[in-house]
Symmetry: C2
Subunit: 232 residues, 2 copies
């Protein structure tokens, strides 16, 4: 789109080439969706700013689901494999995608990663997107649900500034509530704001550092996986 | 680029259309640079994750430079004008750019914003980019210097995961050092890492909440502005 200035407000103009890319992506996302359905895998796309705690949330959840659901992970990063190494150390099958500079995962990247995972041995697949509150939301990956993780130190104004992602997701997680005593953050205002922007999305306030609030998130994931894997 | 997987490593392939966009951007960045030079304005492009403290750093700096340098601001956001309103309340001339979904500022957007600012009354111009550690670094805006702001709660692994921006900038700020007692963050490791990735960039550890460390950052900015405005 063209940039908009507050005075005067210009028209938003769609750029055709972007539509074509997105349309090709959606076709490949549908292929991923079918492949995941064949293997009864529930895939969850985890999106957040850098450092909001995506990997920490995945590690906490793997731990909480031990013996209940078999978890696999696709790690998306610009560079490095530090997150994939952490997940592998937790015993989960993991594939690292390095996007080589691209600011989001797309369906073709995830399609290649799916070929490298033992899908028959995975019930719940986390797809950890590149740390970015903007671009990832435009690219469906074939997932059953999309989740945004925000965190207390980022400030309570993030939904105002990145409304697209907060409005689009199927669940909203507020991480690092243990840091609330040390930073200005109005939890009630944040909760009210996201409820207004996305009334259907469940909202989980938790701390991956202390474990507070993680159980409700895990219960939601288990119910989601049961629904998706049951074909409902 | 194409995505890379760790096993096997694929070739990185450049996409021509991206080159064309970047080349057009660079031509317009050069126009901005000339306009800024004519008015003796030193422009600094501030980049960071969402919530790292870009606006807080700008507000602290406006306060510290009162009576010494006249500061103007261009605020870049996907949506909202909350940051621009904060800057306006601090008494600085400000233009808000809403990118309408685009994940970075580019030179054409900044060119339009420059037309709306009283450049003859500005010595130091902050251009606050969209909260994103990836895409903004590809788009020159005509600035004299580029700065990345990282923050303690994001974790000390960010330079590993977003190496492009840390290697490209002219200065690196680590904000929210007041939160160091409450989160795992190895400041020595971070300092060593960024010094290895970008040995020429000065590194400032500070807290916009307490003011600790802000003076060294402000002194660097003043020296930069003196150099740029003197035409050296």
């Amino acid at each position: 789109m063209q940039p908009r200035f507050h005075e005067p407000k210009g028209a938003a103009v769609k750029v055709p080439v972007v539509r074509d890319i997105l349309s090709a992506n959606e076709r490949l996302a549908e292929q991923n969706r079918r492949l995941l359905a064949e293997h009864h895998v529930c895939a969850v796309n985890i999106m957040a700013s850098p450092g909001a705690g995506k990997t920490s949330l995945i590690l906490r959840t793997i731990d909480a689901l031990a013996g209940r659901l078999r978890v696999g992970v696709i790690e998306g990063d610009i560079a490095s494999r530090v997150d994939a190494d952490k997940v592998a150390a937790a015993g989960a099958p993991v594939v690292q995608i390095n996007t080589g500079g691209t600011c989001h995962l797309d369906a073709p990247m995830v399609g290649v990663a799916l070929e490298r995972l033992p899908l028959g041995q995975i019930d719940l697949l986390f797809i950890e997107n590149v740390g970015n509150l903007i671009c990832p939301v435009e690219f469906g990956l074939g997932e059953a649900a999309r989740v945004v993780v925000s965190s207390v130190p980022e400030g309570d104004d993030k939904p105002y500034k990145y409304p697209g992602i907060f409005a689009a997701v199927d669940a909203i997680v507020l991480n690092k509530v243990d840091l609330a005593p040390y930073v200005p953050f109005d939890r009630t205002a944040f909760r009210t704001l996201v409820a207004g922007m996305n009334p259907k999305a469940p909202f989980f306030e938790l701390s991956c550092a202390t474990g507070e609030g993680v159980a409700a998130w895990v219960a939601w994931l288990e119910a989601l996986a049961a629904r998706v894997r049951g074909g409902a």
